[in-house]
């Protein structure tokens, strides 16, 4: 059969979309197509998973004679159902980026210099194996730390296993910079340390607290589809979308209502809304009595009386009081509460703006308390708990006393200790510890899929700190900010050249697993980091080698995914695993719909088996670490103002700031755009060229300031200005933006790379040079919005 591109598109987009294109995708078909030039050419559509962000969209890549030329959505993938965001097509400029590293390199000169020399893979792996073997003996395996980003699929587990076999407790994930506030808030209220999924398609009302719903909150394409569906897919039923945000974002612009709020006070607003829901009896009494714990005043098993959430909220969060905290009028609070209650099913959700604060975990708990009050958890149109694919468990590790000794050591970043009781990682705290050699000196630092010398608050500290680590290895495909200071770079493939599974971020509720696969042969002498870790372990021999009985990462993935095959449910079923794997390769996605609502036993994984207004987990964890200390003293040490039962319930803690208001009168808001691919998009010209469409800015960074404030300060549009905080200053162009609050300056992330490709390097400024490092001690999350700044003409 001959098929023209025009016919193909016709087939793929008319009528039964999913089935027809699905069939084509499965065949991964090859056809000789008559085109207008380059005749004849061989065309293929290869399915894979995008990685321009962690959204996990399924894509079909059109290749012509082995070259990738276009990226469309894969209709079979339920996250994006055949659609893509602008970053997907820009991936062509990542694959063919002229500044990619072409093979492993070793630094022969000083750190950060141009003294790079090529090295063979065999030599490089031998070098790493020897260094790691030495460190393992002296000073010990705990001295090796592995920093990772939002790793995909089995890579997280592979790194964990590598470290466990080696004996290091120090897998430092970057989650404390991004999403741990939500995760920990959920752990405390419903017992799942995960972000939530939401049933947007059946939702009537959205209260979005600082969530970049249409720009940078994952998975964005799923959320855009949900937004569109809420508006127009249901005749005569158009949801209302309320964006509570410090800045007039694209989401705020597209919302039905923008509620400008003082930064860091989202929890108070949520509790003010809760006050009205309770005072006016608008809450779901049945849900609250059946599925929540700690709403009414209660007595514990020891006969101790506790105040309930109802009494506390009625006492503390009258709308007039909340208005004085948030700047949102009491009338608005009352109206939003009534609308929210009357438009159910609806959800309150949040994001980085509300949560990555010194009071972030409590803010998140307060937002979730609204869902508990209206019964919008585990019901259609509500918040859901994502199901995970049924992986085959990892095999046990071989016994090893050296590893056991290392793993018994405290974590380098203080996570899980009295310093950060609920934290799993405290990424932003590394520099001070590296500089001080506390709690112990690091002997080696591995950096994978993250860029600490660009992405950390007070990023300047990392430049000094990294020099204290004797051996730094990067796996980046680019000579980025951090890799530039490594001793050795073992470049990964670009994501369009590698095999990797990619479980979706919580979103649809039911389990979905995508499979990323090479759409073109690797362009350079790069290697999959999963393979490289296995090769290093094997080169080390002994217990390390024994821990990795697989020839390559593909085997690891197949082994883990054999559980999906054995599960005998979901979109791919086969009598033999090899057939399951073939199907998975051709479709790139396995899913197990639909979501079963009302699974209360699974969803509320708490001591009470209910949503906990009073978090028993929080109480128990703090009590365990408290020792003999008095509660008041212990809470104060953690920076918690509240006392008594209130400290364990959703409540408002005043946020902390760095910089005195008299000297630094503005809050600083750093934000992400749709065109921002998690800091990796800066070297893709298509994204640079459309970066700040809303302010007509491209190829540069800028600061948005309220026009009236600017006039008062004598600042005009496009003036050069300094933004100065207690830790530094950066020079930017001013944009007079009516969507800026008078008390807040806004700077987008993306620019200001010191190293990276030709289009990214030395372009604009990175706000992380003025954002001070502040954390929530309870959870270890970075407080991105805690730095005060001033602005003046340059």
């Amino acid at each position: 059969m001959k098929i023209s591109r025009r016919d193909f598109i016709k087939v793929s987009s008319l009528g039964a979309v999913a089935t027809s294109l699905g069939t084509l995708a499965k065949q991964s078909f090859t056809q000789v197509v008559p085109g207008e030039r380059d005749l004849p050419y061989t065309q293929q559509w290869v399915s894979t998973i995008c990685l321009m962000c962690p959204g996990g969209c399924g894509v079909l890549v059109r290749t012509i004679n082995g070259r990738a030329v276009k990226i469309d959505g894969n209709p079979l993938h339920p996250v994006n159902t055949g659609k893509v965001c602008p970053k997907a097509n820009a991936a062509l400029q990542v694959l063919y980026d002229p500044d990619r590293l072409t093979g492993p390199m070793v630094q022969k000169g000083e750190r950060g210099s141009d003294g790079w020399e090529t090295i063979s893979w065999d030599e490089a792996i031998q070098l790493v194996a020897e260094r790691l073997a030495d460190i393992r003996v002296n000073p010990g395996p705990q001295a090796m730390a592995f920093m990772s980003g939002r790793v995909r699929g089995q890579m997280g587990g592979l790194i964990d296993r590598f470290l466990a076999a080696y004996g290091s407790p120090n897998h430092i994930r970057h989650d404390s910079l991004s999403i741990d506030g939500e995760r920990i808030g959920n752990e405390l209220t419903i017992g799942h340390r995960e972000q939530l999924a939401y049933d947007w398609d059946n939702c009537n009302y959205v209260l979005s607290f600082g969530r970049a719903f249409l720009e940078a909150s994952r998975p964005t394409v799923r959320q855009i589809r949900g937004f569109s569906a809420m508006r127009r897919d249901r005749p005569n039923r158009r949801a209302k979308f309320v964006q509570i945000d410090t800045r007039f974002s694209i989401t705020a612009a597209k919302a039905d209502e923008w509620v400008p709020i003082r930064t860091g006070t989202d929890g108070a607003l949520a509790l003010g809304i809760a006050h009205i829901l309770i005072a006016e009896q608008l809450y779901d009494r049945r849900f609250v009595s059946e599925h929540t714990h700690g709403f009414e005043d209660w007595t514990d098993e020891n006969g101790v009386a506790h105040e309930g959430f109802r009494s506390m909220v009625l006492r503390e969060y009258h709308p007039v009081q909340v208005e004085s905290i948030t700047g949102v009028s009491a009338d608005t609070i009352i109206r939003l509460a009534r609308e929210f209650a009357n438009a159910q099913p609806g959800v309150a959700c949040g994001g980085r703006g509300a949560v990555m604060q010194t009071n972030g975990v409590f803010n998140w708990m307060a937002i979730q308390a609204l869902n508990a009050l209206v019964g919008s958890i585990e019901v259609p149109g509500g918040a859901l708990v994502q199901n995970r694919p049924p992986y085959t468990p990892w095999p046990d590790l071989p016994a090893d006393t050296v590893a056991d000794a290392g793993l018994a050591m405290a974590r380098f970043d203080g996570a899980g200790t009295r310093e950060y009781p609920l934290a799993h990682s405290v990424y932003q705290d590394l520099p001070e510890r590296m500089l001080a050699g506390e709690p112990y000196p690091l002997g080696a630092l591995f950096i994978y899929y993250t860029n600490p010398l660009f992405s950390s608050p007070d990023v300047n500290r990392f430049y000094e700190a990294i020099q204290k680590v004797p051996f730094v290895v990067s796996f980046s495909p680019f000579l980025d900010d951090s890799s530039a200071y490594a001793d050795l770079i073992l470049p990964d493939h670009s994501f369009l050249e590698r095999l990797q599974d990619d479980e979706i971020e919580p979103s649809l509720g039911y389990a979905v697993l995508g499979l990323r696969q090479p759409v073109v042969a690797p362009l350079f002498d790069t290697r999959d980091t999963g393979d490289v870790l296995i090769q290093i372990a094997r080169a080390m021999g002994g217990s390390m080698e024994a821990a990795f009985p697989w020839s390559d990462f593909s085997q690891v993935i197949q082994n883990r995914l054999s559980g999906l095959w054995a599960f005998e449910s979901g979109s791919i079923r086969a009598t033999e695993f090899s057939h399951f794997w073939e199907e998975l390769i051709s479709q790139s996605v396995w899913s197990d719909p639909p979501y079963a609502f009302g699974q209360w036993g699974r969803v509320f994984n708490t001591p009470s088996g209910k949503f906990e207004f009073f978090s028993q987990k929080l109480f128990a964890q703090l009590d365990k670490l408290r020792g003999e200390q008095a509660w008041g003293e212990w809470l104060a040490e953690l920076g918690i103002d509240a006392s008594g039962d209130m400290a364990f319930m959703p409540h408002y803690e005043p946020p902390r700031y760095i910089g005195r208001e008299s000297e630094y009168p503005f809050f600083l808001n750093t934000y992400k755009l749709m065109t921002h691919a998690e800091g990796r998009g800066a070297n893709t010209p298509w994204l640079q060229e459309k970066l700040g469409m809303h302010v007509k800015k491209s190829w540069d960074a800028w600061v948005e300031i309220n026009p009236e404030v600017a006039e008062r300060l004598g600042i005009e549009d496009d003036d050069w200005v300094w933004i100065e905080s207690p830790i530094g200053k950066i020079k930017l162009r001013a944009v007079l933006y009516p969507g800026a609050r008078p008390d807040t300056l806004n700077i987008p992330f993306e620019q200001g790379h010191k190293h990276y490709g030709r289009w990214a390097k030395e372009r604009g400024e990175n706000p992380n040079w003025v954002v001070a490092s502040e954390s929530d001690q309870l959870s270890g999350i970075a407080a991105w919005f805690s730095t005060r700044v001033k602005i003046y003409k340059a």
Partner: protein
């Protein structure tokens, strides 16, 4: 013979610019770079126009994806002195690059600013020429180019295929039962600068209930 038209629902559109990116990839539109972009020479056959105005806190954002309107009565065709710009039998307004003399009359005549002049020969950074689409010709320096509704891959323009908000619809306006015909009769439907009499074949659906 179909008569192609497009409908863009602004209530569904979220100004993500997926349409712009897909268009550039599909139609071999390279990037302009910082200097040329500052001179207004970045080419977008499908651009998302944005305006944020008002006074805090009463601020409004307006975002309009703007492809070529493929006017039924196209002013650009009328002014072209050499017949480079023409309307085909399917109602598409197209450009014959080999005929274009670069006089740019059409750019002045077009009220929607959808036409772009190639001030320079298109450039691809080393290796990036590999993602060129063989189905779409590369335009030389000195000619005008514009959106073709992806004539080489009808009936689904690349912008529509990408759109994550499902905001874009495409089809035959002559067919009264087609989705675009039905949507074009919606009370929310309007066209840009309708009073000019250009009879655009791109319809927008107003935001709001």
């Amino acid at each position: 013979m179909p008569h192609w038209g497009m409908v863009i629902d602004l209530d569904r559109c979220v100004a993500c610019q997926a349409c712009s990116a897909a268009c550039r990839a599909e139609n071999n539109v390279s990037f302009a770079g910082p200097e040329e972009t500052a001179l207004g020479r970045a080419i977008y056959w499908q651009e998302v126009l944005a305006e944020v105005d008002g006074e805090y806190p009463n601020v409004r954002g307006t975002f309009i994806p703007r492809p070529c309107m493929h006017c039924e009565n196209p002013p650009c065709v009328r002014v072209c002195p050499v017949g480079a710009t023409y309307q085909n039998e399917e109602g598409l307004v197209l450009q014959r690059y080999e005929r274009c003399i670069g006089c740019r009359y059409c750019m002045v005549a077009c009220p929607y600013a959808v036409r772009y002049f190639n001030w320079r020969a298109p450039e691809w950074a080393e290796g990036m020429e590999r993602y060129q689409n063989p189905d779409v010709p590369i335009r030389p320096k000195g000619v005008v180019e514009k959106c073709t509704f992806c004539t080489h891959r009808l009936p689904v323009p690349a912008c529509n295929q990408a759109c994550p908000g499902n905001a874009r619809f495409f089809g035959d306006l002559e067919d009264p039962d087609s989705v675009v015909s039905q949507l074009a009769r919606s009370p929310r439907a309007f066209r840009l600068l309708e009073d000019l009499g250009t009879e655009p074949k791109v319809y927008y659906l107003r935001e709001g209930a």
